[in-house]
């Protein structure tokens, strides 16, 4: 068994905290956007699709920089947030969660879309004829049937969120106990003389958490499909 120093534990806890928050923040918007992209035909659909996928192809540092521009104390969103609600996102745990959420957003949207595409529109039609109005239909038929996709997306995003580096370090900086998540702590350790042991331990834990997350996502998806009678 590897024994960990309090600082190392702190990095792990912080990572779990940031990843959890990022999933909680992005889940509902992701379901909405996935539904829009799958079920609605509107002008600007392709633009929205591209925008959602941007974090996958743009360097994470650029995403972090963009967030800094938008949510910084002087930024168009950050300034009113700070002035009216006293909320500061840069250099905070919340900021790290926001950066992580943006980075993992395309992953959730993709998984939720896959889940939604598996829902037979014929079943929603059947629900319509049985008297179910749109929201009723969505909550009682569409949502349960797409839930494997939602869960898989959440778990994948959580696993990926544990390791978000570029956007977090750019937007939220590298503050131990505040924004120094696992990958940041590993990076710091590699830059510190004698930090090789810390780096190795944390890297191993990163690997284990990510692997566990993926396996869990797969297991949940299987269970849910079985539950939905898809065998």
């Amino acid at each position: 068994m590897i024994s960990l120093s309090p600082d190392e534990w702190q990095a792990i806890r912080l990572s779990l905290d940031v990843a959890t928050r990022s999933v909680l923040v992005s889940l509902l918007p992701a379901i909405f956007i996935a539904w829009l992209l799958t079920r609605r035909r509107f002008a600007g659909r392709f633009l929205l699709d591209a925008l959602v996928h941007l974090p996958l192809v743009v360097p994470p540092v650029v995403v972090g920089w963009g967030l800094l521009m938008l949510f910084g104390i002087q930024g168009p969103i950050g300034a009113p947030l700070h002035a009216w609600f006293g909320i500061r996102l840069v250099f905070t745990t919340e900021g790290a969660a926001l950066a992580t959420a943006v980075m993992s957003f395309p992953l959730i949207v993709r998984a939720v879309r896959l889940g939604l595409e598996q829902v037979d529109p014929g079943l929603e039609e059947a629900a319509r004829t049985l008297g179910a109005r749109p929201l009723d239909r969505f909550l009682t038929i569409t949502l349960p049937l797409m839930s494997p996709g939602i869960l898989a997306g959440a778990v994948t995003a959580f696993a990926a969120g544990l390791g978000e580096f570029g956007a977090v370090i750019t937007f939220a900086s590298n503050i131990p106990g505040e924004t120094q998540t696992l990958p940041l702590a590993i990076y710091t350790a590699t830059q510190t003389p004698g930090g090789e042991g810390t780096a190795a331990r944390l890297a191993l834990i990163s690997f284990g958490l990510a692997m566990g997350g993926l396996l869990l996502a797969d297991l949940i998806a299987r269970r849910m499909h079985l539950w939905l009678g898809r065998g």
Binding site: G122, L123, L130, G131, A132, I141, L145, G229
Partner: protein, 361 residues
């Protein structure tokens, strides 16, 4: 009464139909695949918005494009039975059955949950998920779900097409019971004539987006100008009633408007109404009453019309027995040999009678 009038274009296909369906009983929409039958059903259910048209139930418009009326499907209260059942896979049979029932208006009237479950024989399935049902069981649950939503109108889109022959035979009696129990118009889309024979009272005969003919099923089967006459077992359907048994001779007497037929002894009681199919190829004619023949049923008839068949060598004879018209399929040579003329009195020999047992109550 249900009034339907629809016009819709999509791709290279044009639908232009108009028909009515009575307030009770099954109106079969019959025609080859791709003739627009399902489009009609979807438009009536509100799942498809036609270019123009009107759908009215007992005078109330569900759709009237001329007046900007188009009730959404969820407010039309049309119970729909789809070809593939479309049960909700995450709900068990009980919850599936209650889905529409919970959303029906409070004052809506209809059979109770227990009655429907008993009618369809699905008591033992209530706790199961759809994935663990057979095709026939699924379709029965789908029927129950549509009935329990307290519909004003039942729409069935080839409900038996996805099933094999034994399963179809399993469901047909349930459909017949449902038809007799349901006090609402039922539109039944199919391309299987045996289902029409077994279930329908009215028929809308379709081909490539148009209505060829519509009306009472018995009347339509007596017409030789419709594609129905081209089928191998073409012949008239007759509504008859059992009026007596003669056990000593082993015969049962069936009366129809204008005459009576003897058939081998039946076990159903006197007074039972049933539907007979007299195939045109099973009816022969003679100029004088034949003696010394084994045929049980020899009816006096008037030759009303000599109509062509798909074959150049054969014709249909329209034979009026009282007010009922029979069809006989004979060769042109026979017509010439006997010197048959319209208006002439002839003897019709009926060699066999096919029963439609699904008609039995």
């Amino acid at each position: 009464m249900l009034e339907v009038s629809l016009r819709h274009r999509f791709g290279g296909f044009a639908l232009d139909v108009e028909f009515t369906a009575p307030a009770r009983g099954v109106t079969a929409i019959f025609g080859p695949s791709g003739c627009g039958k399902s489009t009609i059903l979807n438009a009536v259910a509100g799942l498809l918005r036609p270019d123009s048209g009107r759908v009215a139930l007992d005078g109330t418009a569900l759709l009237d494009t001329a007046h900007g009326i188009a009730l959404p499907a969820e407010q039309r209260r049309c119970g729909v039975v789809f070809q593939e059942a479309r049960l909700f896979p995450h709900l068990n049979v009980d919850s599936n059955l209650r889905y529409g029932m919970r959303r029906a208006p409070r004052d809506a009237d209809g059979p109770s949950f227990e009655e429907v479950v008993a009618l369809l024989g699905i008591e033992g399935l209530l706790g199961r998920r759809p994935a663990r049902l057979s095709g026939g069981e699924r379709q029965r649950v789908a029927l129950g779900r549509a009935l329990l939503m307290r519909p004003c109108l039942l729409l069935m889109d080839e409900p038996l097409a996805a099933l094999d022959a034994p399963r179809r035979a399993e469901i047909l009696p349930f459909l017949a019971r449902l038809r007799d129990a349901a006090a609402m118009p039922i539109l039944y889309v199919t391309h299987a004539l045996d289902e029409v024979d077994a279930l329908a009272d009215q028929m809308v005969l379709m081909d490539s987006g148009r209505v060829l003919a519509s009306g009472g099923l018995e009347a339509l089967t007596a017409r030789t100008d419709l594609p129905l006459a081209a089928r191998r077992d073409a012949g008239v359907l007759i509504a008859a009633r059992i009026t007596g048994h003669e056990a000593s001779r082993g015969l049962t007497r069936l009366s129809f408007p204008g005459g009576a037929l003897w058939v081998p002894l039946q076990t159903v009681p006197v007074g039972t109404a049933l539907r007979l199919r007299l195939r045109a190829r099973d009816v022969a004619v003679a100029l004088t009453r034949p003696a010394d023949v084994s045929v049980q049923n020899i009816l006096c008839a008037v030759l009303r019309e000599i109509a062509p068949t798909a074959s150049p060598h054969e014709v249909f004879l329209h034979l009026a027995v009282g007010e009922t018209v029979l069809l006989a399929r004979v060769t042109r040579d026979a017509v010439a040999r006997l010197g048959l003329l319209v208006g002439q009195e002839v003897w019709a020999m009926v060699k066999s009678v096919a029963f439609d047992h699904a008609r039995l109550p």
